[in-house]
């Protein structure tokens, strides 16, 4: 459908875009028969009705616990971001070193929840685990995006300095002040992501919103779940009102005070044993090479390969479905198409979709459709589609009434097809490519909910205390992620999709 949107003939920029879209759709169609997307639940509507009722009539009787859960969700996110920003900034300044780039790529290719599972083995269910789980991958993301922001700045100010003024001095006087608005705006957006990550860390036992949400859903207490969901949406929607730079020191002190009391301490000895012994197969440690090779071959055929295949299949379906969600939802949130007033319900819907972590959406869909890949695909498409549609609608609004518009521009569906969609399409595709990597990471993690992606095998390995397996599987996930990132960059260039502001979509 999308590939047909623009006439693929002659020397046209639409041609490359079409080819890439066609390829993605074809891959998704090929994935369809192989992906596990059956509906198991006999009648999802009854359950959906009960959840809907819970959302409309939220109820919570222990406000203290709710407040504490919200507070701890914020505390983990805030402290982790406060530490990840300076670390990321420092790494961004060294981003011209290949080693730094590889290091950052590898730490950000592992999902927060997997980091959480890893640190939990060392630090137990503690504040340290929660903080590190967010801090480590976020540092990698900050480093990459900050470096991209620096790259886009004008070189002239730095060139006027003496060649002796190098390194941090140069950054402090030129690139950092030059890009300050972009850096702070990205950090702000990233804090929103940290809140989502912090919430879903509850799924592995930390005392954040996700923990209570999982409990409430599992007990079928949908009013309580509704209250938690609303609390979370409100929290995200009001960030710009309460997150004031001046209040940050107070917030940080408050966050430290709110952290769970278990600090999580591990003596260096155990950490060393974990790294040097636990995560490697015994045969390898004993130097029995042929047995080690057998172990790896067995793991590959029984877990790594099937996990990779399912993860990729679901990612591909989710990616194409995301594009469809974007194309169908963005007009309802844009001023030019929905009108200045009628766009607000659309914007609210997109806000809800983008605030809601994929894990939570998937969890709800699992209750409805049973344990297959379908809930994961739907959740990924709705969340990411909502996020991208929001950006696309904003871009459309920014152009509305600008010099590009003409008084005789068409309206309605004609405007959608002839003006808005072609003008937004390259940026939309670029957002989608940026998001690909994220969708992959998320579909791997969905395994924790019982869907047979890589996360499923990782979660099982941790449960069976088979750290050697878990480590191998996480390594495979990370490599797959880096690979997809590279492919997406290639395709983005091949399609000539323009590069929107970096960040925002990572």
């Amino acid at each position: 459908m999308i590939s047909q949107l623009f006439k693929p003939r002659g020397n046209s920029s639409a041609r490359a875009l079409n080819a890439v879209c066609g390829l993605l759709i074809l891959l998704a169609l090929l994935a369809l028969p192989w992906a596990d997307i059956e509906v198991y639940s006999v009648d999802p509507w009854i359950e959906l009705g009960r959840i809907g009722r819970g959302l409309v009539m939220p109820y919570w009787d222990g406000w203290q616990i709710l407040l504490q859960a919200v507070g701890q969700t914020i505390a983990f996110a805030l402290l982790a971001v406060a530490m990840a920003v300076p670390l990321g900034l420092a790494l961004a300044m060294l981003f011209h070193w290949r080693a730094v780039r590889i290091f950052c790529a590898s730490i950000r290719s592992v999902h927060e929840l997997f980091w959480g599972l890893i640190f939990m083995q060392v630090y137990g269910l503690s504040a340290t685990t929660g903080l590190l789980a967010i801090l480590v991958p976020f540092t990698g993301v900050f480093a990459k995006v900050f470096a991209e922001i620096f790259e886009q700045q004008d070189r002239a100010p730095a060139e006027t300095l003496g060649s002796g003024a190098r390194g941090i001095k140069r950054y402090a006087y030129t690139l950092i002040p030059q890009s300050w608005p972009a850096l702070t705006s990205y950090t702000r957006y990233r804090f929103e992501c940290a809140l989502r990550s912090s919430a879903i860390l509850g799924f592995i036992g930390l005392p954040t919103l996700g923990f209570h949400l999982e409990t409430a859903f599992k007990q079928g207490d949908y009013s309580e779940a509704g209250a938690l969901l609303w609390a979370f949406i409100l929290l995200i929607a009001t960030i710009r009102f309460w997150l004031r730079p001046r209040l940050l020191p107070i917030y940080i002190l408050g966050a430290i005070w709110l952290l769970p009391e278990t600090i999580g301490f591990s003596n260096g000895g155990y950490l060393w044993q974990f790294i040097s012994q636990d995560i490697w197969p015994k045969a390898l440690l004993a130097g029995q090479w042929s047995e080690a090779a057998d172990w790896y071959a067995g793991m590959f055929s029984s877990q790594v390969w099937p996990g990779i295949v399912q993860t990729l299949l679901l990612t591909q379906l989710a990616l194409v479905l995301t594009a469809i969600v974007v194309l169908f939802t963005y007009p309802f949130a844009s001023q030019a198409l929905a009108g200045p007033v009628m766009r607000w319900p659309g914007r609210f819907l997109l806000l809800v979709l983008r605030s809601m972590p994929e894990m939570i959406l998937a969890f709800v869909f699992l209750l409805l459709f049973g344990p297959s890949g379908l809930p994961a695909v739907l959740a990924l498409a709705l969340h990411n589609g909502g996020l991208i549609a929001f950006l696309v609608a904003n871009a459309s609004d920014a152009e509305f009434g600008s010099r590009l518009g003409r008084p005789d521009d068409p309206g309605g569906l004609k405007r959608y097809a002839y003006l808005e969609t072609p003008r937004r399409f390259p940026a939309m595709l670029a957002f989608l490519f940026y998001r690909w990597e994220v969708i992959l990471r998320e579909s791997a993690i969905m395994g924790i909910l019982g869907i047979a992606t890589l996360g499923f095998y990782i979660d099982s390995a941790f449960e069976e205390i088979r750290y050697d397996r878990a480590f191998l599987l996480i390594l495979a996930t990370a490599l797959l992620n880096i690979l997809v990132d590279a492919v997406s960059r290639r395709l983005r260039r091949a399609a000539g999709a323009d590069t929107p502001q970096p960040g925002r979509t990572h």
Partner: protein
């Protein structure tokens, strides 16, 4: 105010009538007390220094009479990813139903295709018909915009510097074609010569006011100069003084 008053003047029915119109954007006054009437069949050139309010005046006219007008704004309003064909076709969007319009994106409608192919040929865009317009040069893009205006197939043409990006010979031919295809035209122009040669009436706008509204035959370059000096167009730079003179400036 009704724009379609049937009151007949010498030439024919009146198509635009502005009476003491003013326009303020934010706190900046753009136009003051504009009085202007345009009758069917008139060809009017708007001239004046840049920033005088010609574009705003054209917008006022367009608001009065948007139904029968083919508009060509200075910012062409082309859609980059769409082909020359589709961008010209957009001129016909209001006379084509929604479903055929959507289908046309997938497969060009045969009748429109034949017409637009011919139109593109006359505009010298025959070989660019299926290129996306982001790959065209400034002059080619302007010709696509002219194509869209022509494909509106309306009796009135409102153009804002419609031929500013093409070379002088082409500009003359294209302007003649545009004037030939429309019964009535109001066109803002930077080039006085084109204005004097091709239009029956010249309206000079300076600082948001109409300072002169006269038949073209009664005007010439010198008279125009008395109303406003032509903006310094990029003329060949004055020859640098020989270095020797500089060196002995004291003598």
């Amino acid at each position: 105010m009704s724009a379609l008053q049937t009151k007949s003047k010498t030439e024919g029915k009146m198509v635009f009538r502005l009476a003491n119109e003013s326009l303020t954007l934010g706190r900046n006054p753009i136009l003051h007390g504009i009085d202007m009437e345009v009758s069917a069949g008139e060809k009017i050139a708007l001239i004046g220094p840049s920033g005088a309010g010609k574009t705003s005046l054209l917008n006022l006219l367009h608001q009065q009479q948007s139904g029968q007008v083919a508009l060509q704004p200075q910012q062409t309003g082309l859609v980059d990813l769409l082909s020359t064909y589709q961008n010209i076709f957009m001129g016909a969007l209001d006379r084509v139903g929604t479903l055929p319009a959507l289908w046309n994106l997938i497969r060009p409608l045969a009748q429109h295709r034949a017409e637009i192919e011919k139109l593109a040929e006359t505009l010298g865009l025959g070989d660019k018909l299926w290129q996306s317009v982001d790959r065209l040069s400034g002059g080619q893009r302007q010709r696509v915009a002219i194509g869209r205006a022509l494909y509106r197939q309306q009796p009135i043409f409102l153009g804002d510097e419609p031929v500013s990006a093409v070379d002088p010979l082409q500009a003359k031919l294209l302007l003649e074609h545009l004037l030939d295809q429309h019964e009535t035209a109001v066109v803002s122009l930077h080039n006085r010569q084109l204005a004097l040669e091709h239009f029956d009436r010249l309206v000079i706008v300076v600082d948001g006011r109409i300072v002169c509204d006269a038949p073209a035959a009664s005007l010439n370059d010198a008279k125009l100069d008395s109303f406003y000096q032509q903006d310094p167009t990029p003329e060949p730079p004055a020859e640098p003084a020989p270095a020797g003179e500089w060196a002995i400036s004291g003598s």
